[in-house]
Symmetry: C2
Subunit: 392 residues, 2 copies
């Protein structure tokens, strides 16, 4: 039996105790006798980083949390050893977050169902495309009192419209799900360089009361670190929309930078982009708040960080400089992975076309036309101007 | 008599004609028989760039403007020749905007009073500290029907409170004054790389009607170029405040960058900074609109451009890396010139202290304390956090 599995056995006992205590009432967050068990699904660089953050807090706050945090790891062999075993003995994710010491109370678990067993809070932090498979495997396993936070960026666009990933989790698993998003390049957070983030969580109707259920105070206690400043708000839609659409804006920034147009042009794209993000939110998620976009880390700050670098900017710059297509650029730069903006701009275009609204979003539409219809990127300013005139 | 002076004599005749025509009425902006005469005060790199933009438009739109634009130049000798003479014969400001071809209808004029003689629109584009002297020299010279646009960033803080530079011009000269501000690094605009700007102008009570007076359509015709996209709004206060306070935010960005904290931290500072700019505007200029800050080029876009480089960021980074004071950093880097944020953060601090409001602006206050009281810049996150808690 691996050490991870042994720890799991110990945990189930702790969880039993915890379940016992949970039935008692508590009035103060600082002294609940009801520690919450937390599980993290995902162990890429962002998954492992968030697991580290959370495990530091659970370790420091036994009055609120069970110290041990299970992190589901897609098992793989690293030089003949299981990745979970390496993480649990060396306390380092040598594959996806090398060089960063992880807390000893963070336990890598190769078994998905086992990872969430008896937990109160699940944090989803996996690539978008794996979400539906993971969620399917969790059906019937997760109890309805469990609450979740999605660290995945964005939404899915189908024929029915735009659906938030957090809403998808809620629909499929029957559990309340919030989101975490912010100006958070994972390596910087992992190194404990100061940054900020936004957690959004809507208190559900079946909220069981302070100390008995997840609420904004508890989420702040779970995610806030001296180097990772958390603001907790209600607006799940706002931070999810901003998190997805920023990647389309980043492509636009990459184009003008690749053309050598400089900082003024990049700032102009970000300004227009922020405006279209706000408009999109207001139009399709009227419950989202305008302030979220311009005042939260998940809004304007994440937009700025994303436009200052990252995959989407790199791909777009390469297209501008080489004259190659988006697909070719992805192939040459990203080793077969994709730049999320390439997918998102298509989804957004198709949705806006269904609604006959493409003219209301000149930048998103221009980026789509450049990526998919070979429209010269030099036309970008005119396309924005022209479409803005139509929109007036 | 210099060629510049000869051209001036010719101009006064043109101006007389123009004054004649101005008395005729006109209903359509596209066909006014009332061309406006434009003068630019200032010929630094931004002054010359804006003069180039404007002269291109006056040359192309004889139905709206008198082609010739006079630009006041502080006369100096360049290798034995007058700078005005060089500009007027070689059509290049070899000292402050070398390498950029200027329109031939842009005329350098060493005589301030002569420059504005008979003009309808004055564009101020000089360093802040020269404004009061220039304005004093123009008293009694400028007719009350003249309108002005200030390209100077910011405001002045005195014991009476915060005064916009545009209001100062209006008070001193008795003429309506708007402002132009945006994400506009001068060299990029001069090279005709695409950018955007915001012009703000409040239509005065004595507005004489379309075609007879300066209004939003006329200002768009005057400043908008294919490479320089203009949005004209009413909110002079908003764009002026944003233009001044962004320099304080840029110092904060420079500190965290100099400390090696990375993109997340820089984005966090910009987010907090934008919030404090909005709060400052709402508190002291309640007529300013929140949208101006997050939707105009003069707001969020100029903040982003300024925080991506420039004097303030350079000085702050140097302080972080060398441990030297702001004054030493300015001396070593800027050849005796100043970084505007160093002055502005002090003015803002003094004003906020008078109002007992420093705790409402944690970032502005932290930057002030770091620059003037040797508070370690590593404390920046805690200072923001702590002050935010007090403010709650």
């Amino acid at each position: 039996m691996s050490s991870a599995a042994q720890r799991l056995n110990q945990t189930s006992q702790i969880l039993d105790n915890s379940n016992l205590r949970r039935s008692q009432s508590s009035t103060s967050l600082k002294a609940v006798d009801h520690p919450f068990k937390v599980a993290v699904i995902g162990s890429g660089n962002w998954g492992t980083t968030i697991a580290k953050v959370v495990a530091e807090n659970t370790g420091l706050n036994p009055q609120l949390f069970i110290s041990r945090v299970d992190m589901w790891v897609f098992e793989e062999k690293i030089e003949g050893r299981n990745l979970t075993e390496i993480i649990n003995t060396e306390h380092e994710n040598v594959k996806y977050l090398p060089g960063i010491k992880l807390p000893e109370n963070l336990v890598a678990n190769p078994n998905l169902v086992d990872t969430v067993k008896g937990c109160d809070i699940i944090i989803f932090n996996i690539p978008h495309q794996f979400l539906s498979r993971i969620v399917n495997n969790l059906k019937g396993v997760v109890e309805p009192h469990v609450r979740a936070i999605s660290c995945l960026k964005g939404f899915e666009v189908g024929k029915k419209g735009v659906q938030l990933l957090s809403s998808y989790v809620t629909e499929e698993l029957g559990i309340q799900c919030g989101a975490l998003s912010g100006a958070n390049l994972a390596p910087e957070v992992a190194k404990e360089h100061w940054s900020e983030t936004t957690v959004a969580y809507h208190i559900p109707k079946d909220y069981r009361g302070e100390g008995k259920d997840v609420d904004h105070k508890l989420l702040k206690a779970l995610f806030h670190r001296p180097y990772f400043h958390v603001n907790v708000i209600e607006d799940v839609a706002g931070i999810s929309i901003a998190g997805a659409l920023k990647n389309v804006v980043a492509l636009g920034c990459g184009f003008v930078e690749g053309l050598g147009w400089g900082n003024n042009a990049a700032a102009a794209i970000q300004r227009v982009g922020l405006g279209e993000i706000i408009k999109f939110g207001q139009m399709f998620f009227p419950e989202s708040r305008v302030q979220t976009y311009y005042q939260e880390s998940a809004g304007v700050a994440d937009l700025i960080t994303t436009c200052s670098g990252g995959r989407n900017v790199r791909v777009a710059k390469f297209m501008a400089k080489s004259g190659k297509s988006a697909l070719e650029a992805e192939k040459e730069l990203l080793n077969g992975q994709s730049a999320q903006g390439i997918i998102t701009c298509k989804e957004v275009h198709e949705w806006l076309e269904t609604c006959e609204m493409t003219h209301e979003f000149p930048l998103f539409e221009a980026v789509y036309q450049i990526v998919y219809n070979n429209v010269p990127m030099q036309n970008l300013p005119d396309m924005i101007e022209e479409l803005e005139c139509i929109a007036d």
